[in-house]
Structure formats: structure tokens, C-alpha cells
């Protein structure tokens, strides 16, 4: 049984300009200890998908519907708000994009770490403090004991993200959702954080949903990847499969705008145009207006998710095999 099963997740927002379908029929499964990348442009619905699983969307204006969201055999959709609170941070943790603003500026780091431990693990203040020091050491914050009594503004961006990770990991959750967790950080710090996530995953067996628009990072960190566009998953599969043999025009487009350090002088090819308005109905492939690979069939019907190879699915009419890497996919 997978750790997390999401079936046909639909998250909508009522706005003045109609109902915005921010997430429109997303399905995926995640095994214990598995790392899944969720990639796509800003506004493609990655964060909303993640927040919908934890039901962190404000309802109204939001509205979360799904055929199934099951975590470890428990139907998350059926939980009361109080039961759901018991799951948050205890079993499913989340790290957010902006470490500069995700910590409360008027509370000490120690307080923000300890309250999670005291809330979920019923630790005494003394035990929670000792555990907090350990956690800060685990995420690589020197002089942890002293830093516990400091405030967020006394920490650099990278250090704050480490604190966020320490908070997220404090109760040994089984699922960690990292939403652009390293986007705001320097590359060197980013590498350290990635290393840390890898270590935690192998040591604690934590499953991870890694939301990012950095394909290189996802390729290096994740087991499998799902590509989102206009609120849907347009392609997903094992990382090597998807990046060596992309089967959706959007995936290929994304790869073409990803720079490579070892390819000096290579021109990046931006995807022209803008993502579609999610308040309007989309009878055809939502990527069609921007797609360079479009074929005649694209103007006639909406493509469905079809299997390309074992575990690799994509919803695209075009045949992209001409762009595939020649090497054998391991």
C-alpha cells in the first residue's frame, strides 16, 4: 500500500472573475521513503496541490475536492479539523519557500521548535529543549544551545531554512512536503540543504514531495517526477525516464529553458506566451497555444494520459521520440 494516494484532486477558488480551477484532477501515489519531484511554472498548481493535501487552503474562498486522499490508510478528507491538526507536523510536515518570512519574528527559535514537540509528542519543556538542541545540531546549526534563545532576524536565510527543516522534522514525520525550499538560497547553501534532505530520507525513511521549478535539482534528488501545467499533471514517471525521454511538449519546453553549466554558448529557448487563464474552460490541451510540437490531432481533441513506458505517463498527441536521448535508460 502506498504511503500517500491522491486521486482526482480538484482545488478551486471562487473569485470575482469566476471559479479558478487551480488544481484540476491531480492524481499520484507516493511510497514510503520515496522522493517525488513536482515541477512546473509559477501558477501551475504545485503549491496548491501540496497545501490541499494538508488542507492548509482557506475555505472559502478555496474549495478542495478529491475522489481520494489517503495517507497511511487514513482518509484525510474525512478528518475533522481537530483530527487534522494532530496530523500536521506530526505525520505530514511542510517546509515553505521563503525562510525569511516563514518564522514568527517575535518568538525565539527555541520557542518555535519546542511548541511543536510539546504539542504533538507531549514533551516537557525540559525534554523539548534538549530535543530542540539535538535537532538544530542535526540540521547543522553550530552553537545550537545558545542560538535557541535567539530570534529569527539574528539568523541568515540559509540558517532560517535549516530551522524550518528542523521544525518540520521534529516529530519524525513520514511525509515531508518541501515547497521551493531552496529557491531563495545561495547555491552552496542549497547543496547543503539537499544533502541534508537526502541523509534524512535514507536515515529516517521519510517520503518527500519536492516542489521546485529547478529541473536540475529534481533530477539529482528525486526518484520520480510529475510535471504540472495549468493545474494538471501532464507527464510523470521515473526521473531518468521523463528527462531522457520526455513525452510532453511542455516537459521538453521546460528542459529547453534549463541552462547547463557544461554547455557554454548554448542558447536557451524560452517558452513563448503565458499560462492560460484557469477560470476559463479548456476543451483542448491547455499547453496548445504555446506548444512548438503541436500536431493536427491537438486541435481536435484533448489528449489523455497514456503510458509511454513502465510508470511513465504523459498526455500529449505529439511524438517526441526524435528528441530522446540515444543512451539506454538505466
Amino acid at each position: 500500500m502506498p504511503l500517500l494516494t491522491v486521486k482526482n484532486l480538484r482545488t478551486r477558488f471562487s473569485t470575482d472573475r469566476g471559479t479558478v480551477r487551480a488544481v484540476d484532477g491531480v492524481s499520484f501515489e507516493l511510497e514510503e521513503g520515496e522522493v517525488m519531484g513536482l515541477v512546473g511554472e509559477s501558477g501551475s498548481g504545485k503549491s496548491i496541490t501540496a497545501m490541499s493535501i494538508m488542507r492548509l487552503i482557506k475555505e472559502p474562498p478555496g474549495r478542495i475536492e478529491a475522489d481520494e486522499i489517503t495517507f497511511d490508510g487514513v482518509d484525510l478528507l474525512a478528518l475533522t479539523p481537530a483530527q487534522l491538526r494532530d496530523y500536521r507536523a506530526r505525520h505530514i510536515s511542510m517546509i515553505f519557500q521563503d525562510p525569511m518570512r516563514s518564522l514568527n519574528p517575535v518568538l525565539t527559535i527555541g520557542r518555535q521548535l519546542m511548541e511543536t514537540l510539546q504539542r504533538h509528542l507531549r514533551m516537557s519543556a525540559r525534554d523539548a529543549r534538549r530535543r530542540s538542541i539535538e535537532l538544530l545540531e542535526v540540521v547543522g546549526i553550530p552553537r545550537a544551545e545558545k542560538r535557541l534563545d535567539e530570534y529569527p532576524h539574528q539568523f541568515s536565510g540559509g540558517m532560517r531554512q535549516r530551522v524550518m527543516i528542523a521544525i518540520a522534522l521534529s516529530c519524525n514525520p513520514r511525509l515531508l512536503i518541501a515547497d521551493e525550499a531552496t529557491t531563495a538560497l545561495d547555491v552552496t547553501i542549497q547543496a547543503q540543504i539537499i544533502d541534508l534532505i537526502r541523509r534524512l530520507r535514507s536515515e529516517m525513511g521519510t517520503a518527500v514531495i519536492w516542489i521546485s521549478h529547478d529541473l536540475g535539482l529534481v533530477a539529482g534528488l528525486c526518484d520520480k517526477v510529475s510535471v504540472m501545467y495549468a493545474g494538471r499533471i501532464v507527464e510523470s514517471g521515473p526521473v531518468r525516464e521523463v528527462f531522457y525521454r520526455p513525452a510532453h511538449g511542455y516537459t521538453l519546453g521546460l528542459m529547453n529553458c534549463t541552462p547547463r553549466v557544461d554547455d557554454i554558448g548554448h542558447r536557451l529557448r524560452p517558452i513563448e506566451g503565458m499560462p492560460p487563464n484557469l477560470a476559463e474552460p479548456m476543451p483542448l490541451c491547455p499547453f496548445l497555444p504555446r506548444c512548438e510540437m503541436a500536431v493536427a490531432a491537438c486541435r481536435e481533441s484533448k489528449p489523455r494520459l497514456e503510458t509511454i513506458a513502465e510508470g511513465h505517463v504523459a498526455s500529449c498527441h505529439a511524438n517526441l521520440s526524435a528528441y530522446w536521448r540515444k543512451e539506454k535508460v538505466a
Binding site: R88, D98, R101, V106, E115, H120, H153
Partner: protein
């Protein structure tokens, strides 16, 4: 922190010096002669000259100023022309009453505005919020003397729940602590209603701002109890501008009690200044305005200190 405080306290006498010049000039160069008002038109020139000499009004104005400041530095605020009592004695009688009134108005304002502001922010754009907004509009719009009249009519004359006067008279209408508190209730409500409106609006807007911050999402993602999230994570942030405004408004309240004191016959600073202005009682006006200015400045310094205490990002 300490060096900042010392710096502010050093600045204070300098600002107060400017205040003395301003008060002095405004009073001396507006028409009205205290001696004439006191003695009337039909008086002997000798009596008039004697009175002028006694209060040094026969000196050129710059000499009067220097002599006044010289006396102030020695702790002598002069004597009232009208009542012939030392200004310091008047201050000692009236300042405590004004402070008590300002404090009771402040307590009323805080007790009303914190729950009202919180509920308005949490129930934003619902009828509860609109009701709170309606109340604050009323608070901003209604003049305190008009409110005082209504309160007296309803609660003193019609319902007889509260006495109309009684502050500082020594006579109490009820036994024990309630007898001390009771006469303050109506004046505090009349005086503090504007502040309830100011504080409610401030708390509502800062609370709405805080509720939209990323760290509130973090608090929710931690699965904390709603009350913890509200009181610890949200309110502590929202209180930063609130507490600052609290201190400033307290300083302000000491200076604006004139009409309320008049209506409720309260022997505070406001009514003393009012009669001093009418009688052109120079030493009293000067001394009282100076003390009010000093309190206003102190309130501002306290606001800055509180700001540094609740917001760890602020370091002086």
C-alpha cells in the same frame, strides 16, 4: 537600550526649553491683561502698579521670561495671580485626579478595543466586522462632550446608576472600592470612546496584516491549537503598533480633559487651565502646559521603550 534612554532623557529638557518659549510667547502676545481682569476697570493706579510689581508684570517681557525660567530651574513654578496659591500646590492637587481619569479612560479603551479589534479582524467582511466598524465610526464622530451629556441623561438622571459628579470631592455614593471607582465610570467612557475607536481600527488592521503573513501559515502547518495560534503567534505581532499607540494616546489623554472635567465638575488639570485662561492667570497656564508637555514626551519615550521590549528586531 540604556544609552538610547539616556539620550532621550537628555533631549527632554531641551525640548521643554522650546516649549517654555512657545507657551510664554503665545500667552504674552494674545490680548488680555490679568491685572485688569482681576481688579476690574474701576481701580486705583497704585493698586494696579502694586499687583503688577508683585507678579513682575512691569518688567519687559524678555526679563519676565528669564526670571520665570530662572525660578523654574530652582523648582519654583510661581504663584497664581488669581488665587495667590503656589502653582506647584495646584499641580499637586490636580495632577493625580487627571492621571486617574486618563488611566480609567485608557482601561476602558483597552478593555473594549482588544476583543472588538480581534473579532473584527477574524470575522472580516461579515456583519460582525461591519458592526464593529459602525461602532468605531460612532467613536470617531461623536464629540466627547455630547457623549458625556447623553451618558449623564441616561445613566445618571434616568437610571440613577452613576453619580454625575463626585471625583475629588471626597464624598462617595457607595461603600468600598466601588465608591472610589463609580464616579470615574461615566467620565472614563465619555473621554475614552475616541480611543476605543482608534485602538479597535488599529488592532483590526494590524491583525489582518498579521493573519496574512507566511508565519501564520507555518503555525497552521504545525497543527497548533487555534487559540495558541491566535494569542501567541498572531496577537503578539499585532500588539506591536497597538502598544506604541497606547502610550502615545495616554500622554494625549492627560491634555484633552478640559470639556469632560467641566461637564462632570472634576477638579483636574483641564478645568484649572480653563479658568486660568479665562482669567489670564499667566503662571498657572505656563506651569500646567509645561507639565502636560512633559507627560506627553514621557509617554513617547515609554512608547519607544515598549516597542523595543515587544519587538525583538528593534534595538536602540
Amino acid at each position: 537600550m540604556w544609552s538610547y534612554l539616556v539620550k532621550r532623557l537628555i533631549q527632554m529638557p531641551l525640548v521643554l526649553l522650546v516649549v517654555t518659549i512657545t507657551i510664554f510667547l503665545i500667552i504674552r502676545f494674545t490680548p488680555g491683561d490679568p491685572v485688569q481682569i482681576m481688579l476690574g476697570m474701576q481701580t486705583s493706579p497704585e493698586a494696579e502698579a502694586a499687583l503688577r510689581a508683585e507678579f513682575r508684570l512691569d518688567q519687559p517681557w524678555h526679563m519676565q521670561y528669564l526670571l520665570w525660567v530662572g525660578d523654574l530651574l530652582q523648582g519654583d513654578f510661581g504663584r497664581s495671580i488669581r488665587m495667590n496659591t503656589p502653582v506647584l500646590q495646584l499641580l499637586a492637587d490636580r495632577l493625580p485626579i487627571s492621571l486617574a481619569l486618563a488611566l480609567s479612560a485608557m482601561i476602558f479603551a483597552v478593555v473594549v478595543s482588544i476583543p472588538l479589534g480581534l473579532i473584527a479582524a477574524l470575522k472580516r467582511n461579515t456583519w460582525i466586522d461591519y458592526l464593529a466598524t459602525g461602532y468605531t465610526l460612532f467613536g470617531f464622530a461623536v464629540p466627547n462632550f455630547a457623549l458625556a451629556m447623553i451618558l449623564i441623561y441616561v445613566f445618571s438622571i434616568t437610571l440613577s446608576w452613576f453619580p454625575i459628579t463626585g471625583i475629588g470631592s471626597g464624598a462617595s455614593t457607595a461603600p468600598g472600592l466601588w465608591g472610589v471607582v463609580q464616579p470615574y465610570v461615566l467620565p472614563a467612557v465619555a473621554l475614552g470612546t475616541l480611543q476605543t475607536a482608534i485602538f479597535t481600527r488599529l488592532l483590526r488592521s494590524s491583525m489582518i496584516d498579521v493573519l496574512g503573513q507566511d508565519y501564520m501559515r507555518t503555525a497552521n502547518a504545525k497543527g497548533l491549537q487555534p487559540l495558541t495560534i491566535l494569542l501567541v503567534h498572531a496577537l503578539k505581532n499585532a500588539m506591536i503598533p497597538f502598544v506604541t499607540m497606547l502610550a502615545i494616546q495616554f500622554g494625549y489623554l492627560i491634555g484633552i480633559q478640559v470639556t469632560i472635567e467641566h461637564i462632570f465638575a472634576i477638579p483636574g488639570m483641564g478645568s484649572a487651565i480653563l479658568s486660568a485662561v479665562v482669567n489670564r492667570d499667566f503662571p498657572v497656564i505656563q506651569g500646567f502646559v509645561l507639565v502636560i508637555a512633559a507627560f506627553f514626551m514621557l509617554a513617547n519615550i515609554i512608547a519607544d521603550i515598549l516597542y523595543g521590549i515587544i519587538d525583538p528586531r528593534i534595538r536602540y
